[in-house]
């Protein structure tokens, strides 16, 4: 699936939910199904600043593509990072760096999350972009 197709799929998925609580249920499910993140990787340099909860993000490069893994101590945040990973993992640096991350606003995440959370989201996006552009 191309990056555009994947984003479209998520936009459609979110459009199924009218109620915010249902969107949260969905994010919670995503959070719970995220692959386990090794404890030894929960280091200060992998911690994303600017979130009320703690979020760790790691990236590995294989055959020219970036693969992300992440964890959070808060489940909704974990759902959000899981969503971002499902979109951007397995893409090339160029693809990620060129993307505008506009789909996040389209599914209503940015507006409907509290300011601290929105900041957290911005930090998550910045970190992914930064990893793509500069490496660690």
């Amino acid at each position: 699936m191309t990056l555009e197709e994947k984003k479209q799929e998520i936009i459609e998925e979110f459009s199924l939910y009218d109620e915010w609580l249902d969107k949260y249920e969905y994010l919670i499910e995503l959070g719970k199904s995220l692959e386990p993140f090794p404890e030894e990787k929960k280091t200060e340099d992998r911690l994303i600043k600017g979130c009320q909860s703690r979020v760790w993000l790691d990236a590995e490069e294989r055959e020219g593509r970036l693969y992300f893994s992440a964890d959070s101590d808060a489940i909704i945040t974990k759902g959000i990072i899981s969503l971002l990973i499902s979109v951007y993992s397995g893409r090339t640096r160029e693809e990620i760096a060129a993307d505008d991350f506009g789909f996040v606003a389209e599914i209503g995440l940015k507006e409907n999350l509290s300011p601290t959370r929105a900041n957290g989201l911005v930090s998550m996006i910045d970190t992914i972009k930064n990893l793509a552009e500069n490496g660690r």
């Binding site: 915010w20 949260y24 919670i28 703690r54 489940i75 909704i76 509290s114």
Partner: protein
């Protein structure tokens, strides 16, 4: 006055969020303002906007009267002996900084000690840390008992002949337990040490009589007790305020200014440099009137007690929940708690979507969070306009949120 009538004075309480009725339980962060406060604020801006104290024209006289009238109202509200002991500031933080800086400048020296408690708000920790760094003094920390109360005996053991001041909260913004301030002050005074009380929460929930408490300083913010933002009070005993140097220099706080030397205005103006918040300070009058009428209203008090009993019981009986600040006889309707295996931020986000406004996180009390061994808590704090049915909706919503997250 019934609670329905009280609620009708707060138009914001009819707000709907995400299509649901707002249940505002973040009153410890800031209270809502009654119509009387909003009207007062607007009338001052529209009707008597002029800089206070100096000019001789009619508007300035009106503005000055309103401002000085607020000083009288605060004086009677806390039963201060004299109006000159009431200093207006921008809030409790500014009040505490004033004392830390000015009292500290005069009375704290290298090797001296300052005591704060572990459950203080950052605003009652950091100003003292800055002072201690500046002076080479030592900041000592008073522990809190398991039930969330400060213990006068523990304080007694911490005092030495180098202790220069003790700064403690009347009610912690996290634990919601009334501290025995009068006893704590007595212990300090027996050792010849003055005490500053952070009354940010205390002024809202307790009838404060500074002469009865015998505290040397009492600091609070206006916005937590229904007044305009950017207003605050420092009560200080005259003997200390007179002995303390000015905190900020500028207009109004002087007597005469010469390059050869400046003399300062008498109290309280010595500590009110620059243009004061004269459009906002007079809102303390209707705000304190409201606070007093709510405090003296049997129906409101009965509802508050019922809410306290109900929420306390619900939170302490639920095995998934850990409530901090459990001292039942000194508890106010402010509840901070953790839910096993569930992050406070997740709970706050879901409660928000259900219309319930609560606080999550460290609540400006990181040392206390470390002491309790948590990364943050969820806090629900009630005001006189909150009802038992709102408390019940909060508990039901909380249980639903926990089930979603577990």
């Amino acid at each position: 006055m019934t609670i329905t009538e009280i609620r009708s004075q707060f138009p914001i309480l009819d707000t709907r969020v995400y299509g649901k009725p707002l249940v505002y339980l973040d009153n410890a962060a800031t209270a809502q303002r009654p119509q009387s406060v909003v009207d007062c604020w607007r009338d001052l801006v529209e009707g008597s906007n002029a800089n206070i104290h100096r000019a001789v024209h009619a508007l300035a006289a009106q503005a000055t009267d309103a401002y000085e009238g607020a000083r009288e109202r605060v004086k009677s509200f806390i039963n201060a002996p004299s109006r000159v002991e009431i200093v207006f500031t921008s809030g409790a933080t500014a009040s505490i900084n004033l004392v830390a800086s000015s009292y500290g400048q005069q009375f704290v020296n290298q090797g001296d000690e300052v005591i704060v408690s572990v459950c203080e708000h950052h605003s009652n920790i950091v100003p003292w840390q800055l002072l201690c760094e500046r002076k080479g003094a030592l900041l000592k920390v008073l522990d809190v008992a398991e039930d969330g109360r400060l213990n006068p005996e523990s304080l007694k053991r911490l005092l030495t002949n180098r202790t220069k001041i003790v700064a403690i909260s009347h009610i912690s913004n996290v634990l919601g337990v009334i501290n025995p301030v009068k006893e704590l002050a007595a212990v300090c005074h027996a050792a010849g040490v003055p005490v500053l009380v952070d009354g940010s929460q205390g002024i809202v929930h307790e009838k404060v009589d500074v002469q009865d408490l015998d505290c040397d300083f009492y600091a609070f913010s206006g916005h937590k007790i229904y007044a305009a933002t950017g207003t605050g009070v420092l009560y200080g005993k005259k003997k200390w305020l007179e002995a303390m140097p000015p905190y900020m220099g500028g207009g109004e706080m002087i007597e005469t200014v010469r390059f050869s030397g400046t003399t300062y205005a008498p109290l309280p103006m010595k500590f009110e440099a620059g243009t004061q918040n004269f459009n906002a300070v007079p809102t303390l009058v209707p705000a304190l009137d409201f606070a007093e009428s709510a405090r003296d209203n049997p129906e409101v008090q009965a509802e508050q007690k019922t809410i306290l009993d109900y929420v306390y019981t619900q939170l302490t009986q639920d095995s998934r929940i850990v409530l901090y600040g459990t001292c039942r006889e000194a508890k106010i309707p402010l509840f901070s708690f953790a839910v096993n295996g569930v992050h406070h931020e997740d709970l706050a986000l879901i409660l928000d979507k259900m219309g319930v406004a609560v606080r999550s996180g460290q609540m400006c009390a990181e040392p206390l969070m470390d002491h309790l061994g948590v990364t943050g808590l969820l806090r629900a704090s009630f005001a006189p306009y909150n009802t038992l049915s709102e408390a019940k909706y909060f508990i039901t919503s909380l249980q639903r949120a926990i089930e979603m997250l577990q």
